[in-house]
Subunit: 297 residues, 2 copies
C-alpha cells in the first residue's frame, strides 16, 4: 500500500510537470497579448491538475513513460480550464471568484473570457497532436477525448446543470446523469486516454474507464460535501455558494451522511476496477481514489 504522504508527493510532482509544460504551451505563437494573458491567467490559477495526473498515471500504469503522455495530458487540463472559464460567465453560474481569485471575466472582460475559453479548447487539440506517439494511437485518443468533452459529454452536462439549477424537483438519477456528463466524462476519458496512448488492450481500457467513472462520481459527491462543510479559505469561494445559486447537490438531495456513504462506495468501486493491476502506479491510483473521499469525510 502507498501512504497518503507518498501519494501526495507523487501527485504534486506530476502536477508540477504538467504546470511546467502548460507554462510554455503558448510560446512562439502570435496570440494577441491580452488574450494570451487571459488564457495563461486561468491556466496558471493552480488546482491539483487531477485530470492530467490521471492521464499520466494511467499511461504509466500501462507501460508508457509518463513524459511521452505529457503534451496530451496537459491538453486535458487546457480543456478543463476552458470549461471553468465558461462556467463562471454571467450567463452561466455568474461566479466572481475562482480559487480565491477573480474569475476570468472579472479579471479581464466577458468577450476576452469567452475567447480565452474558445482558444484553450481549440489549442488543446493543437497540443494533443504534438505527442511523440504513433499517429493511429494518438488519433484514437483525440477522438475519445473530444467525445467526452463535447455535447454528449462535458458540454451537455453543463447544459443539464443550467436546466436543473433553480428547479425544485431533481431526482438522484438526474443528478447522477448530469454529473456523469459534466465531470465524469472528462475524468473517465483522462484515464482511458492514458491507456490508449500506452497502447493498452481493450480489457485494460475498460478497467481504466470503470476506474475513471467511479472516481468521477466520488469526486463530485466529495466536492458537493466540501461546499457545505469547508470554509471560504479552503474553497476559494463562500461556503454554501452552490446552495445559494439554487444548485442541486448530493447533500441537498440525500443529506450529508448518505452522501458520504455514496462517495465511499464509489471510491471502493474505483479501487476494485483496478484489481488486476499491481505495482506502484496501481497503488498510487488506488490511494488517489481513497484520498478523493477522505478529504470530505
Amino acid at each position: 500500500m502507498m501512504s497518503v504522504e507518498e501519494m501526495k508527493t507523487l501527485l504534486k510532482s506530476r502536477g508540477r510537470d504538467v504546470e511546467a509544460y502548460l507554462a510554455g504551451c503558448l510560446d512562439g505563437r502570435a496570440i494577441p497579448s491580452r488574450l494570451k494573458e487571459s488564457m495563461l491567467y486561468s491556466l496558471q490559477a493552480g488546482g491539483k491538475r487531477l485530470r492530467p495526473v490521471l492521464c499520466l498515471s494511467c499511461a504509466a500504469l500501462c507501460g508508457l513513460e509518463p513524459h511521452k503522455a505529457l503534451p496530451f495530458a496537459s491538453a486535458i487540463e487546457m480543456i478543463h480550464t476552458y470549461s471553468l472559464i465558461h462556467d463562471d460567465l454571467p450567463a452561466m453560474d455568474d461566479d466572481d471568484l475562482r480559487r480565491g481569485k477573480p474569475s476570468n471575466h472579472k479579471a479581464f472582460d466577458e468577450a476576452t473570457a469567452i475567447l480565452a475559453g474558445d482558444g484553450l479548447l481549440t489549442d488543446a487539440f493543437v497540443i494533443m497532436c504534438r505527442a511523440p506517439l504513433a499517429a493511429d494511437v494518438l488519433l484514437r485518443a483525440v477522438a475519445e477525448l473530444a467525445l467526452a468533452a463535447g455535447a454528449s459529454g462535458m458540454v451537455g452536462g453543463q447544459e443539464w446543470d443550467m436546466i436543473y439549477t433553480g428547479r425544485s424537483q431533481v431526482s438522484l438519477e438526474e443528478l447522477r446523469g448530469m454529473h456523469a456528463m459534466k465531470t465524469g466524462a472528462l475524468l473517465r476519458a483522462s484515464c482511458v486516454c492514458g491507456g490508449l496512448l500506452a497502447g493498452a488492450e481493450e480489457v485494460a481500457l475498460r478497467a481504466l474507464g470503470d476506474f475513471g467513472s467511479a472516481l468521477g462520481v466520488a469526486f463530485q459527491i466529495a466536492d458537493d460535501i466540501l461546499d457545505v462543510v469547508a470554509d471560504t479559505a479552503t474553497l476559494g469561494k463562500p461556503a454554501g455558494s452552490d446552495a445559494e445559486q439554487g444548485k442541486n447537490t448530493y447533500p441537498s438531495l440525500v443529506g450529508l451522511e448518505k452522501s458520504r456513504e455514496l462517495a465511499r462506495a464509489q471510491a471502493d468501486a474505483a479501487r476494485a476496477a483496478l484489481a488486476d493491476f499491481a505495482g506502484q502506479e496501481a497503488e498510487f491510483l488506488r490511494a488517489l481514489a481513497d484520498y478523493t473521499v477522505t478529504r470530505a469525510a
Copy 2:
C-alpha cells in the same frame, strides 16, 4: 474556363452534400434536446458552405474522391458555425439577427448559445477523426485546422476585432492582420487540409495555402463592401450595420473604389496561385475566386 452558372451549380451541389452530412452529424448521440436543437438551428441556417466546399474541392483537385473528405469538410463548417454563434453574443457583437433569423442566443438563451458553440467546436473534432483515411494524414490535417481555428488564428482575430471596434485609428495593416486571422486562417486551412487529406506534396500544399489566403482577403473585402451597398433582404441584417457597430472596414478606411481594386487584386492572386493546376477542379476554384469579388462589384 468554367462559366459562372456551372460554377454555381457545382458550389450548390457540394454545399448540399455538406448539408446532408451535417443534418445527421449528431445522430445517435445522447445530447440534451435543447442543446442539440440549438446546435442544429445554427448548423442548418444556410449559407454557401464555402469553407467545406473549398476543402472538398481542394481534396478533389489533389486526386481524392470528395466523399472521403466529407466528414472533415463538414467539421470545418461546424467550427465556422460555432464562431458565428459566439461572435453574435451580447458580450461580443451583440447581434440579434443572423442570416435574417434570430441569432442563436435570441432563439434560445445565452447559456445555451455559449454551450452550443462549445459543443459544435468540440464535436467538430469527433467528426474530423471519423474520416476514412490514414491516421497520419488525418492527424496532420487535424493539427493544421486546430492551429488555424485557435488563439493564433480565428479566435485571436476575433479578439483583435473586439479591441479595434470603436477605436478611431486603425491602420490598413492592422485591419488586414485582423482579418487574416479572423477569416483568412480558417479559409486558408480549409484549402490546405483538402490537400493534406489527399496526400498532396509540399509544393501543392503551399499553392493551396496561397490560394486560400488570397481568397480569404478578397472574400473579406467583398463582405465589407456588400455591407455598405447591399440591401437588408440580401444581407439578412440591416445594411450598414458594421459601421453602426463602430467596426473598421475596408470601405471606411480606403473608400469603396479602392476597396474594389484591392478585392480584385486578391482574386487575381488567388487565381495565380493555382497556375500549375489544370482540369475541372482548378477551373471551379478559379471561377469561385472571381465570383467572390464580382458579387460585390
